[in-house]
C-alpha cells in the first residue's frame, strides 16, 4: 500500500490531463441553420467547436446526413427566437457536452438581448453597445491593476490557509486513528500485558504515539515525493507538451471564448494573466514563511499529541473497533468544527469566532494555522500556544491514567462513568 498510493495519487493528477488531451482531438464542427440569415454568425467559434452557418439550407436537408458531411450536429435557430425562447434545437447523435450547450445558449442570449434593445430604435445602438461593453472591460483591468497585489495576495493567503488547515486535519485524524487502532490491536492480542510487565504503560502509550507519527511522516514524505516524481515523468513523457499549462488556463480560455473577445482583447487578457501571475508570485515571496512553517510544525506536533493521546485512551477503553463509536463522537466533533471555522476564517480572519476557536486547544491547531497567513497579532499566537502546551500535559496525564486501566480491562462494555472511575485509581 505504501508504494501503491503514490500511483493512485498520481492518477488523480494525470487522468484529468489525459482526458483534456483526448478532448482536444475530439474537435466538433456544428452546422447552424435558420429560417433566414437572421442568426448568421452570432455564435463564435471556440477551442473545441466551430460553428458553420449554412445559408439557404434547412434543417430537413441536414437532419439525415449531417454526420456523413462531417458535422457533430445541427443547430437550428428559429427566427421566432426573440419571442419563443425554446425555438432552438440541437440535433446530434451523442449527448452534447454541457460546455457546448452553455456556450450556445450564452451566445444566443446575448444576441437576443441585443435584438430586443434594437427594437427600441435607439440611434447608434451598435456603437453604444460597443462602448458599454468596452468600458466594462477597461474597468475590470483597472481594478486588477490598481488593487492587484492586495487582491491576489488575499487569494494566495486563502489558498495557503485552506491547504494547511486541511492538511492538518488529514494528518491529525489519520495518524490519530492509527494510534487508536494500534492500541486496540495490542489490547485484543494481549501482547500489552507482556510489554507493560517490562515498561510502564505511559511509556508504551507515548512510544506508540511517537512511533506512529514517525512512521506516518516517513510514509507521507514518500507519497509526496513519489507522486511528484510520477506526475513529472508522465507529464514529460506521456502528455503532449503544454497540456498541464492548458489545464491551468482552462477557466480563462472559456471566459475568453464566451465574451467573444477579439484578437486585441485576447492580447490584453494574456497581459492581465501575466500581471496576475507576477503578483501571486510576489505575494508568495512576501508571505511570512518562517512563521508559517514554525506554527505549522508546532501545531502539527501539539495537535497530534493532543488528539493521539485521546485516541489512545479511547482505544484502551474498548475491546474492538465497533465499540469506539460512542467515544469517537466527542473527539471527532471538535476536529470537524475546527475545519468549518477554518473555512469561515478565510472569509473573515478577524472575526471573534476565529479568535476564540484559535485559542481553544482542540480546534486551535487547525484554526490558528488557517489564520496565520492573515497576520495574527503575536500575543494571540503566544497565548494560543501556551494554552495548548498546558492542555497537552493535562491530556496526556489523563489519557495515561485511562490507558493504564483500560488496556487490562476485557469483556466489559465501558461507560463514561467507568472511565471517570479509572481516573481516580491508585498507581
Amino acid at each position: 500500500m505504501t508504494l501503491l498510493t503514490p500511483f493512485l495519487l498520481a492518477l488523480i493528477f494525470v487522468v484529468p490531463a489525459l482526458m483534456m488531451t483526448n478532448q482536444d482531438k475530439d474537435f466538433k464542427k456544428i452546422a447552424v441553420v435558420g429560417d433566414s440569415d437572421l442568426y448568421k454568425d452570432v455564435i463564435p467559434d471556440t477551442k473545441d467547436a466551430d460553428f458553420e452557418f449554412l445559408s439557404g439550407t434547412t434543417l430537413n436537408d441536414l437532419k439525415g446526413n449531417f454526420s456523413e458531411k462531417g458535422y457533430y450536429g445541427v443547430l437550428y435557430v428559429s427566427d421566432l427566437l426573440v419571442d419563443v425562447p425554446n425555438a432552438v434545437q440541437l440535433i446530434s447523435k451523442n449527448q452534447p457536452p454541457i460546455g457546448l450547450l452553455d456556450h450556445i445558449s450564452y451566445s444566443l442570449k446575448k444576441e437576443i438581448e441585443k435584438k430586443k434593445l434594437r427594437a427600441y430604435n435607439i440611434e447608434n445602438l451598435d456603437e453604444i453597445l460597443k462602448s458599454v461593453s468596452a468600458s466594462v472591460d477597461i474597468q475590470t483591468i483597472k481594478i486588477d491593476n490598481e488593487g492587484g497585489t492586495k487582491k491576489t495576495s488575499t487569494g494566495f493567503a486563502m489558498a495557503l490557509a485552506y491547504m494547511s488547515g486541511f492538511m492538518m486535519y488529514m494528518l491529525v485524524f489519520m495518524f490519530g486513528s492509527q494510534v487508536m487502532r494500534g492500541v486496540i490491536e495490542e489490547k485484543t492480542s494481549r501482547i500489552v500485558e507482556v510489554v507493560i510487565s517490562s515498561v510502564k504503560p505511559i511509556q508504551l502509550m507515548l512510544g506508540k504515539i511517537i512511533g506512529i507519527a514517525l512512521v506516518g511522516l516517513t510514509q507521507f514524505s514518500i507519497w509526496v515525493l513519489l507522486t511528484l516524481a510520477i506526475v513529472a515523468v508522465v507529464q514529460s513523457k506521456v502528455l503532449p507538451e503544454g497540456t498541464m499549462e492548458q489545464m491551468q488556463q482552462l477557466p480563462q480560455s472559456f471566459a475568453q471564448a464566451e465574451s467573444g473577445a477579439g484578437a486585441a482583447d485576447a492580447g490584453k487578457a494574456v497581459e492581465t494573466q501575466m500581471t496576475e501571475f507576477q503578483s501571486i508570485f510576489a505575494s508568495a515571496i512576501n508571505q511570512p514563511w518562517g512563521l508559517i512553517i514554525f506554527t505549522f510544525v508546532f501545531y502539527f506536533i501539539t495537535g497530534y499529541l493532543l488528539y493521539a493521546s485521546l485516541f489512545a485512551a479511547i482505544g484502551s477503553a474498548v475491546d474492538n473497533e465497533t465499540e469506539t463509536q460512542q467515544f469517537m463522537l466527542p473527539v471527532t466533533i471538535p476536529i470537524i468544527l475546527a475545519l468549518f471555522v477554518a473555512m469561515a476564517t478565510m472569509q473573515n480572519p478577524e472575526s471573534s469566532l476565529s479568535f476564540w476557536f484559535s485559542l481553544i486547544p482542540l480546534t486551535s491547531p487547525i484554526v490558528m494555522v488557517a489564520r496565520i497567513p492573515f497576520d495574527v497579532p503575536a500575543w494571540q499566537i503566544a497565548l494560543s500556544m501556551a494554552i495548548m502546551l498546558v492542555t497537552i500535559v493535562g491530556t496526556i496525564w489523563m489519557a495515561a491514567r485511562i490507558y493504564r486501566t483500560g488496556i487490562l480491562m476485557y469483556g466489559k462494555k465501558t461507560s463514561y462513568k467507568e472511565i471517570w472511575k479509572w481516573l481516580t485509581y491508585k498507581g
Partner: protein, 308 residues
C-alpha cells in the same frame, strides 16, 4: 530465605475487592503454586508482583527489599492470555521483547538461538506469528519469558494449548530452570501438575488466603488416616479397635481393601494385622489429591459465606 514476599496486600476496584490482606512468601529456588477458582484474585496478585498495578495497601518485597521499577528485569512473566504481534516475524519479535527486558541485541540473539534450539522452534524464526499454531506461539512466548534469566518467573497457566508431549517438555524446562536457581510462581487450575511440580502453595478464594503451606504437609494434614492394602488372592480382613474396614473388593486375583485408622495405635499395628490376614502386595496411606482438597476447601468457604 524468601525471594519474594507480599504482606497484607489489599487491592480494591470500584465495587469489588480483588485482594483482601493477602500474604505470601515464596522461598528461593522453589516452585510456588498460586491456586484459586476463577476470579479469586490471582491475576491481580500477579499483576501487583509485575508492578502492572499497585496495591492499595500492604508491602511487596523482592530479595527483602521493597520492589522497585528496575526490578522488572529480574522478573519474567508469562500471562495466561498469551499475545504476540501477529504480523511481526517470530525472531524479530523475540529480539524486541528480549531487548525490552534489558538484554543487548547480540546477547539476546545468542540466548534466543539456544532456547529456540532447545524448544525445537528454530525453523519458525523467519515466519510471521499468525502462521504459527497456538502451541508454537506459546513456545515462542515461553522462550521470551525465560530468556533474560530472571530470578523470579511467573507462569500463569503455562500448559493450556499444549499437547501432552509439549506439556512434558515445558514441565522439564520449568524444573530445569529451578535447578539453575530460578524461583517460580506457578498459577494453574491443573491440580495434577501442582502435585507434580509445586513445593508450596497458596490457595486464594474470594480475595482471601484460605490455605497455604507445603504441598506434602497439606496433603497429610487433609488425609483422613486412610490406607489402601492390596492382597494376593481373595482376602477379607475384619476390623478391630485400631481400624475399621471401609471397603473390600476382589478382582483379577487381587483384593483391594480400604481401612480407616482410629488413630489409637501406630501403622505397624495395622500392618501386623494385615500380614496375618494374607499376602500383602502393597500398603499405602491414602493421601487426598490436591484436586479434592481444592474443591473441599473452596466449597466449605463458599457455603459458609452463603450462610453468613
Amino acid at each position: 530465605m524468601s525471594l519474594f514476599e507480599a504482606h497484607n496486600v489489599t487491592k480494591r476496584f470500584a465495587t469489588t475487592t480483588a485482594l483482601d490482606e493477602v500474604s505470601i512468601s515464596v522461598p528461593e529456588k522453589s516452585i510456588y503454586g498460586l491456586l484459586g477458582p476463577n476470579g479469586a484474585g490471582k491475576t491481580t496478585l500477579i499483576r501487583i508482583i509485575n508492578q502492572i498495578t499497585a496495591p492499595d495497601s500492604g508491602t511487596v518485597l523482592l530479595n527483602g527489599q521493597p520492589i522497585k521499577s528496575e526490578d522488572v528485569h529480574k522478573i519474567g512473566y508469562l500471562p495466561e492470555e498469551r499475545g504476540l504481534y501477529k504480523k511481526m516475524k517470530v525472531g524479530e519479535q523475540a529480539l524486541y521483547l528480549a531487548q525490552l527486558k534489558g538484554l543487548s541485541r547480540p546477547e539476546a540473539m545468542r540466548r534466543l538461538k539456544y532456547w529456540f534450539r532447545k524448544l525445537e522452534i528454530t525453523d519458525w524464526w523467519g515466519k510471521k506469528v499468525e502462521e504459527l499454531s497456538k502451541g508454537m506461539q506459546q513456545k515462542v512466548q515461553f522462550a521470551t519469558t525465560v530468556l533474560h534469566e530472571p530470578q523470579l518467573l511467573i507462569f500463569d497457566e503455562p500448559f493450556t494449548g499444549f499437547d501432552p508431549i509439549n506439556v512434558k517438555q515445558i514441565k522439564d524446562e520449568i524444573l530445569f530452570l529451578r535447578e539453575r536457581g530460578a524461583t517460580i510462581i506457578f498459577s494453574t487450575h491443573n491440580m495434577g501438575s501442582v502435585e507434580e511440580l509445586c513445593d508450596n502453595i497458596t490457595l486464594i478464594n474470594k480475595a482471601k488466603t484460605i490455605l497455604e503451606g507445603s504441598v506434602d504437609k497439606i496433603r497429610h494434614d487433609w488425609s483422613a488416616n486412610e490406607y489402601e492394602i492390596i492382597f494376593d488372592g481373595e482376602v477379607t480382613p475384619s476390623g478391630n479397635a485400631h481400624f475399621q474396614v471401609l471397603t473390600s473388593a476382589f478382582a483379577k486375583g487381587r483384593s483391594t481393601v480400604r481401612l480407616k485408622s482410629a488413630g489409637t495405635g501406630d501403622t505397624n499395628d495395622i500392618i501386623r494385622s494385615m500380614t496375618a490376614a494374607g499376602t500383602v502386595i502393597s500398603f499405602n496411606p491414602v493421601l487426598p489429591s490436591m484436586n479434592d482438597i481444592f474443591i473441599k476447601v473452596v466449597e466449605t468457604q463458599n457455603s459458609e459465606a452463603a450462610k453468613n
